[in-house]
């Protein structure tokens, strides 16, 4: 059983990702890989949420929630890199 909001989330992510990518690739950002990983895992989680409504609901549900946990770790890693770099720059 799928929900409309989950479809909207996935569609919005798919539509905005190319635009986000065009700006993101030009960024000189510490922890860029971490952010990329976090964003990618969120996308996968969105896909799993939608898939959950059609097939293997327990598996895809679990994957969705694991995905959010991994994305949290990715964003935390990216944020840490930014914090360290900004403090290093302030010391310089």
């Amino acid at each position: 059983m799928f929900e409309e909001s989950e479809i909207v989330d996935l569609l919005m992510a798919l539509l905005l990702t190319p635009i986000i990518w065009l700006s993101f690739r030009t960024l000189k950002l510490p922890g860029k890989t971490w952010f990329l990983f976090g964003y990618f895992v969120i996308m996968v989680a969105y896909a799993c949420t939608v898939a959950e409504g059609y097939v293997l609901p327990d598996l895809f549900n679990a994957l969705e929630h694991i995905g959010y946990a991994l994305a949290g770790a990715g964003f935390a890693g990216g944020a840490w890199s930014m914090l360290v770099e900004s403090r290093r720059a302030a010391q310089r």
Binding site: S23, H65, A69, A71, G72, L83, R87
Partner: protein
């Protein structure tokens, strides 16, 4: 507790930690646009903190009150991320632009300092001929006036031309210059009212971003007025000095001719009474004019010896005068060199014996013939042998060695005498050059014998060289062609060991 509940808990922790780190990010007051970006970062992380907490509460069976709002909150995450990334990229572009502007300003200030302090005048002429930039020196030299920012007006009364006294104004002159020489180096004259004339060495270079055809160009110049004046003064001075030297040389030639003529006449005039003195002395010594005492004979012998010495000197003066005047006549004839050398050697034998010097002649019979003037060559060799005798003390040696090849004959006269100092080598073959302080040379040296030898060898188309070392002797080498050809004389420094 299921894996999903653990994952939700970890999700809350992960996004919560990320939220905390973003919260701790410092905000530079000089970059206020970082503040909204930071706010959106916190909001984006807050989305999944909220979702995680909602799920955890639900799994824990505490409450489901947040569940209806999850969808509305979660849908905000991707737009938040899109905004954050776009804003960060824009901020980065802004930073880069700002840094670029600062760099450009620094470069501009550096360039301005260089151009303003440059000893060259620099100006930029636009495609329409208008002057858009001129440094201080360019304004001063060309008399430019700054009418507005980036616009300089040339004065109407300053002339600018490719030659002194030109009639072109500065503006037209620059246009003409760029039309004819868009890239290169030329001289131009700038004439100010009141007669102030400046010569400038101009270089032009089209600006790289100028349109095809005659576009904007940089014109740089150096004031070369002082160098030009100095050059003109120098050229004038050289011209005046050259004329003076030509006149002086002409006067010297006249004086030299007069001296030569005087020496020739004087020598002729002296020869007659000297010959008479020698003749009458011989008559008195022979007793034709009556008996003479032993003391009188002794005195007469001294008169005859001195008269002969004086006659020899007069003859040498006459010889050198004739050679310098070009009045020596060369009688070319084939000469058997070996026989000729033996004759000269025999004629000198009495003098050599008297000096108690060991003389050796090494002249093989196979030397063959050379076309030369026998009398003059004999005079050369007598002079060289006489010099060697006078330079060599009793018990010393003299070697006369002759060798030949197909084209030339070389005669070497070497001695073990006093030698010649290196600083005197250059003057030893010059008239009277060897008279100045030559140690070890006997007093009767006139100073003309070697000079006459040098000139005669030159006249015979050969060359003479001398090598010597003090206290170890000298070696004179005469090289004569088998067939006569005119040659110059050469003097060299290092002594050579004489052949036995």
């Amino acid at each position: 507790m299921s894996a999903i509940a653990v994952a939700d808990g970890l999700s809350v922790i992960g996004f919560g930690v990320a939220l905390l780190f973003f919260f701790l990010l410092p905000v530079d007051p000089a970059r206020p646009y970082v503040r909204p970006i930071k706010a959106f970062l916190l909001a984006a992380m807050g989305v999944y903190v909220f979702v995680g907490i909602s799920n955890t509460l639900e799994w824990a069976g505490i409450t489901k009150v947040l569940d209806p709002y999850e969808d509305y909150v979660e849908v905000l995450f991707i737009p938040f991320v899109a905004y954050i990334v776009y804003a960060m990229a824009t901020a980065q572009q802004l930073e880069d632009t700002k840094r670029g502007s600062e760099l450009l300003r620094d470069q501009h200030e550096l360039l301005s300092s260089i151009v303003d302090t440059s000893p060259a005048g620099v100006l930029v002429v636009a495609a329409d001929g208008k002057i858009t930039f001129a440094n201080g020196l360019a304004q001063d030299v060309l008399g430019l006036r700054e009418a507005a920012a980036g616009r300089f007006l040339p004065p109407p009364d300053v002339r600018f031309s490719h030659e002194a006294g030109g009639v072109t104004g500065v503006g037209e002159g620059l246009e003409e210059l760029l039309d004819r020489n868009p890239e290169g180096r030329v001289l131009r004259f700038v004439e100010h009212p009141g007669g102030r004339m400046i010569v400038i060495d101009v270089r032009t270079e089209p600006l790289p971003f100028a349109a095809p055809g005659r576009g904007s160009a940089v014109v740089a110049f150096v004031d070369t007025t002082a160098q030009m004046r100095y050059r003109q003064d120098l050229e004038e001075a050289v011209e005046v000095r050259t004329e003076e030297l030509i006149e002086l040389n002409s006067r010297l030639e006249v004086a030299n001719d007069a001296k030569r003529e005087f020496l020739t006449r004087m020598s002729h005039e002296l020869r007659t009474p000297l010959s008479s003195i020698i003749g009458f002395t011989a008559t008195l010594l022979a007793g034709y004019a009556g008996d003479t005492s032993a003391e009188q004979k002794k005195q007469l012998e001294a008169i005859r010896a001195s008269s002969r010495q004086l006659l020899g000197l007069v003859d040498e003066v006459l010889d050198i005068s004739l050679i310098e005047a070009g009045r020596q006549i060369v009688n070319w004839a084939p000469v058997d060199v070996g026989m000729f050398l033996r004759g000269v050697y025999d004629s000198m034998s009495p003098i050599v014996r008297e000096a108690e010097i060991d003389v050796e002649l090494d002249a093989p019979g196979s030397l063959g013939e050379a076309v030369t003037d026998e009398d003059k060559l004999a005079q050369v060799l007598r002079n060289l042998i006489s010099h060697a005798i006078r330079s060599t003390p009793a018990g010393g040696w003299i070697r006369i060695v002759a060798r030949g090849d197909d084209g030339s004959v070389t005669i070497t006269v070497a001695d073990s005498g006093a030698g010649i100092a290196p600083e005197d080598l250059d003057s030893v073959l010059v008239p009277f050059g060897q008279m100045v302080g030559r140690p070890g040379v006997r007093a009767q040296e006139s100073g003309l014998g070697l000079a006459i030898s040098h000139d005669l060898v030159d006249l015979l188309g050969g060359e003479i060289a001398v090598t010597s070392e003090l206290d170890r002797g000298s070696t004179f080498t005469v090289t004569l062609p088998r067939r006569p050809r005119p040659r110059s004389t050469e003097v060299s420094g290092a002594p050579e060991a004489p052949s036995p």
